[in-house]
């Protein structure tokens, strides 16, 4: 599994086609490498976990495994929104751990060529930290922000995550 993943990755940096799962947050479109995504589920009951950063919504029971849930709206300092029937939890494997991310809506899987990815613009006005933007994809009608969640949980952040009192 692990090696297969690595292989595909190395290919994708060679300018191959890559597949992205696109999702919406506050009407903006984001993309994430499909290989990172384990599954996409509907909203479930989330158990709040005390003394965690505000963007940690809590934990859920994913078929017997307890995984943390992060609200990407809160993480990116976007406005809070009610959950509706399109709200989804994207379960991903980030630095070896399963985690769920709440997004407004998951739209589709798209294929793009590596070459279409442009470096992120130097100024980013929203709360998305520069580091977790892997690039921007500018296609005729749409603008997609490619996220790198591994970077989002950089060593620094992870320490913060666990020690917040």
């Amino acid at each position: 599994m692990e090696t297969a993943l690595a292989k595909v990755k190395s290919e994708e940096y060679g300018g191959e086609l890559i597949q992205l799962v696109s999702f919406n947050l506050e009407k903006e479109e984001y993309g994430i490498n499909v290989l990172m995504v384990r599954e996409i589920i509907r909203m479930l009951n989330i158990t709040r976990v005390p003394n965690t950063p505000h963007y940690v919504e809590g934990v859920i029971n994913l078929r017997g495994k307890v995984i943390p849930i992060i609200n990407l709206r809160k993480k990116f300092d976007l406005m809070d929104a009610e959950y509706d029937k399109r709200t989804r939890i994207m379960v991903m494997e980030v630095v070896g751990e399963l985690m769920g991310f709440i997004v407004d809506e998951v739209s589709e899987v798209i294929r793009i060529s590596e070459k279409e990815i442009q470096p992120p613009p130097p100024v980013v006005s929203s709360g998305i930290e520069q580091e977790c933007m892997a690039g921007v994809i500018n296609q005729a009608e749409r603008l997609l922000v490619l996220l790198d969640l591994e970077k989002m949980f950089s060593a620094d952040e992870r320490r913060l995550f666990s020690n917040v009192a």
Binding site: N45, T47, R48, V49, P50, N51, T52, V56, G58, V59, I60, N61, G64, K65, V66, I67, P68, E97, L98, M99, F153, R158, F161, S162, N163, A165
Partner: protein, 608 residues
């Protein structure tokens, strides 16, 4: 020098067997010191060493052979009563056995280190010559004239070893060879001796290895019967599953909802039964007798007693009590500390004891027993007990507490001071104690296991440390509580009592909410505040207090409601959420939701 052994399997076999033999050997040697006349025991010890020697020479571990060879010679003389067992001889033999253990550990580690063997061997040699015999034998009841017998006895023994060496296949075979050989050698050796004493019958003690556990913890030996029982239960489970599938298809085929309800009720009852049985079986397979930890104590106590110049009887009860592997692994260190303390601080020297009108020999009782869902381990000595005044004074001297604090403390709180890091009553640091880390380690370890520690003390009569530990760490009994609409689970092992109180009964002392509970004052913690829950019920004037104890500390947790008791399986929160204060893990409830498990250790630590 790296180990060059072609057959890894052979080496593994050797290591497993040797480790087992050596573990047993310690125990046997200590028993032998107590009953030197026990011929069976003596023979068993001799055989163990002999087997180790045979196997190591077969595999070419020269250093091991050297040490075991000399040890065997000394044991041989003891066996034939040419030597009488004295504590000095025992010291040397134990030292040799320790050396053997080190060598075996080296082999296990995969690298043979050149170690100094001569020191130990030099100590063994005097016991092999005639003069030394005269000199060291304190009670020469049996005239030690037949020292020559050592030679003939030795020769066949060596022959046996040679046989073992020549044995071609597995170490098992080598062992069998080596085992069968000493028997004739024993009979041959005494023959030329004109000794009037009865020749010790070489009784074949059955190889004890079978049911015992290996020292290394990566593999488990499970009783075949337990495995069969498990298989049975799994069979039952499969049956119930089939019934469930059947029931569903019946329902789809038009079974009336009422009948379905009935059948489903029965089914869930049976399923409940089968799964709890299954759970028990699996838990049982993880269980180890506490003996695994206890068996190293006679040796430790003996050495300590000799170092300290005290006379001690160690009495062990309940070593067959079983508990979870994870717990067994963790309690060793705390127990060693407590036993050291009992010997070093607790027991007096023989003179002091006589002066106090007690027996010369002090007693330390180590016992284990089941008590409900807990295991209770107690270490009790009949020494001088703990003097609270002395403790208080020491703590003041060390600046661990202030005068006012001490003045406000009851006897119990003062005794608890010994758990403070840096506390020690010894004036001088020895290699035994005095660095002030001991009791702190004990407390930390016990807390890690969700255990409670209690001290019973009577000045002049002795003291007792009681450890209460949960049986297992994977599935726990817990108390489900509600805190403002959120459900939390508190490990039942640390719950002492629960009570319903009116909010009017709370008092404030120094900014801390407390509750007067019988004759003590209990600090309180509002879980709603600690966990930052949104307040839902503002109009209530009564609430529940769950009193939890961690090690020797007590604290009351204020909750909205008690929901009941449930057995829960602990699930990790993953590495991102692993260090949350006050939260020890999570569990999944019947309705599939996640409930967080409160970590009383974190809470008590935070409140103190």
């Amino acid at each position: 020098m790296a180990i060059d052994c072609e057959d890894q399997e052979l080496l593994d076999g050797f290591l497993a067997e040797t480790t087992e033999l050596l573990e047993k050997l310690d125990d046997d040697l200590i028993s032998l010191e107590k009953s030197p006349e026990d011929a069976d025991l003596m023979n068993r010890i001799f055989r163990s060493i002999h087997t180790v020697k045979g196997a190591s020479s077969f595999l070419g571990f020269d250093m091991l052979v050297k040490v075991t060879h000399k040890t065997e010679d000394v044991l041989n003389r003891l066996r034939k009563v040419e030597l009488t067992l004295t504590p000095e001889i025992m010291d040397v033999i134990l030292e040799a056995v320790d050396l053997v253990k080190t060598l075996v550990a080296d082999i296990k580690g995969g690298d043979i280190v050149e170690r100094d063997l001569e020191g130990t061997i030099a100590k063994l040699i005097p016991f092999l010559s005639e003069n030394a015999v005269e000199a060291t034998v304190l009670a020469p009841v049996f005239a030690p004239k037949e020292e020559k017998a050592a030679a003939p006895a030795q020769a066949p023994a060596e022959a046996a070893a040679a046989e073992a060496q020549a044995a071609p296949a597995t170490p098992q075979e080598a062992k069998a060879e080596a085992k069968s050989e000493p028997a004739p050698s024993q009979q041959v050796a005494p023959a030329p001796q004109p000794k009037p004493q009865p020749v010790k019958e070489p009784q074949k003690a059955p190889a004890k290895g079978g049911g015992e556990d290996l020292a290394d913890n990566s593999t488990v030996r499970v009783d075949v019967k337990r495995l069969d029982d498990l298989m049975n239960q799994v069979g039952e489970l499969v049956l119930e599953r089939n019934r469930m599938i059947q029931l569903h298809s019946d329902y789809q085929a038009g079974l009336s909802p009422a009948d379905f309800g009935d059948d489903f009720g029965k089914l869930s009852k049976r399923l409940n039964f089968v799964t709890s049985e299954l759970q028990m079986q699996v838990l049982k397979m993880r269980m180890l007798p506490v003996e695994k930890v206890f068996k190293k104590f006679p040796r430790i106590v003996r050495n300590l007693a000799r170092d300290l110049g005290k006379e001690v009887d160690l009495v062990i009860y309940g070593e067959e009590t079983e508990l979870d592997r994870s717990v067994v692994d963790e309690i060793g260190d705390p127990l060693i500390h407590l036993i050291r303390n009992a010997l070093d601080h607790g027991l007096e020297t023989p003179e002091q004891r006589l002066a106090a009108g007690k027996d010369r020999t002090g007693t330390v009782v180590l016992s284990a027993a089941h008590e409900g869902n807990q295991i209770v381990i107690s270490i009790k000595d009949n020494g001088r007990g703990i003097d609270p005044d002395k403790i208080a004074k020491k703590a003041l001297d060390k600046g661990l507490v202030t005068d006012e604090q001490v003045a406000a403390m009851g006897t119990r709180e003062i005794l608890d001071l010994i758990f403070l890091p840096g506390f020690s009553t010894k004036e001088q640091t020895t290699d035994l104690s005095g660095r002030g880390v001991g009791m702190d380690v004990v407390r930390t370890n016990i807390r890690k296991l969700n255990g409670i520690i209690e001290i019973k003390n009577e000045v002049g009569q002795g003291s007792e440390f009681i450890l209460k530990l949960p049986l297992t760490l994977a599935i726990i009994q817990s108390l489900l509580v509600e805190v403002e609409k959120e459900v939390y689970s508190i490990p039942l092992a640390s719950v002492i009592e629960t009570m319903r109180v009116s909010k009017k009964e709370f008092h404030m002392i120094g900014g801390q909410e407390v509750l007067k509970l019988r004759d003590s004052v209990l600090p309180l913690l509002r879980l709603q505040q600690t966990f930052g829950c949104q307040e839902v019920y503002t109009d209530r004037d009564t609430c529940y207090v769950v009193i939890v104890g961690v090690a020797e500390k007590r604290i009351g947790l204020i909750v909205t409601r008690l929901l009941g008791q449930q057995e829960v399986a602990i699930k990790s929160l993953g590495k991102f959420l692993s260090n949350l204060p006050g939260i020890g893990g999570s569990t999944i409830m019947g309705d599939g939701r996640v409930a967080l498990i409160v970590d009383p250790i974190g809470l008590v630590g935070g409140a103190a």
